[in-house]
């Protein structure tokens, strides 16, 4: 078990996959990190030495924005858009798609289940 970036405890998966359990790290970033700190991508997380884990942890702490910090900055970005009252901000407020998708049909991910719009507004 390795503890990286606070709460994350990836299990007996390959290091490359294990790192993606951290919010803000996907496959490509995970690969880049492991390459930077010179850890074998195919090594399982449980096989990593303490030294390797520390190197990964240090690198992520210093170079990457992950987990809480990333979530915070994301919500701040959205908040900024809503405050300046621009089109994108208004779409966020209404819970509608922001990037010009059609809303005549579909857009269910943003709108939520059918018929629940009135409840959502309140």
């Amino acid at each position: 078990m390795a503890r990286i970036a606070g709460i994350e405890i990836p299990n007996n998966k390959r290091a490359e996959i294990g790192l993606t359990y951290i919010f803000g790290i996907g496959r490509s970033k995970s690969k880049a990190i492991l390459e930077k700190v010179k850890v074998d991508i195919n090594k399982k997380v449980k096989q990593l030495s303490t030294d390797e884990v520390t190197r990964i942890r240090k690198y992520i702490e210093s170079e990457e924005i992950v987990e809480g910090d990333l979530k915070k900055s994301l919500s701040q970005d959205i908040k900024r858009l809503m405050e300046i009252n621009c089109y994108r901000g208004r779409r966020h407020q209404r819970g509608l798609p922001v990037r010009g998708q059609r809303t005549k049909t579909n857009a269910r991910t943003r709108k939520g289940p059918r018929g629940s719009m009135i409840k959502k507004k309140k």
Partner: protein, 93 residues
């Protein structure tokens, strides 16, 4: 794909001149513009621009956070008042 950095941000030339003039004159005059595609530049902060939405001019007070957006983003072109609710629909008949 984004715009090349070499070119800098886009802003209508006439509007740019007006903004600079207003900034120098320290006047609180509203600048009317149709150029919704112009970028909000740092010089505009504190000014009020009247951005056309196709029908009328919407006054936009530019704040620091707005820099980098386009003017059109602050002047909505659509007017959606929502659908009539079910009880209202019945009264009409």
């Amino acid at each position: 794909m984004g715009r090349s950095i070499k070119k800098g941000v886009y802003i209508e030339e006439k509007l740019f001149k007006k903004v600079l003039a207003a900034k120098n004159a320290q006047k609180r005059e509203v600048i009317k513009t149709w150029s919704r595609r112009s970028t909000v530049i740092p010089e505009m902060v504190g000014l009020t621009l009247a951005v056309h939405n196709g029908k009328k001019f919407i006054p936009v007070f530019v704040s620091e956070n707005m820099v980098g957006c386009k003017l059109g983003e602050f002047s909505l072109t659509r007017n959606y008042r929502g659908h009539t609710s079910k009880d209202k629909r019945g009264k009409g008949k």
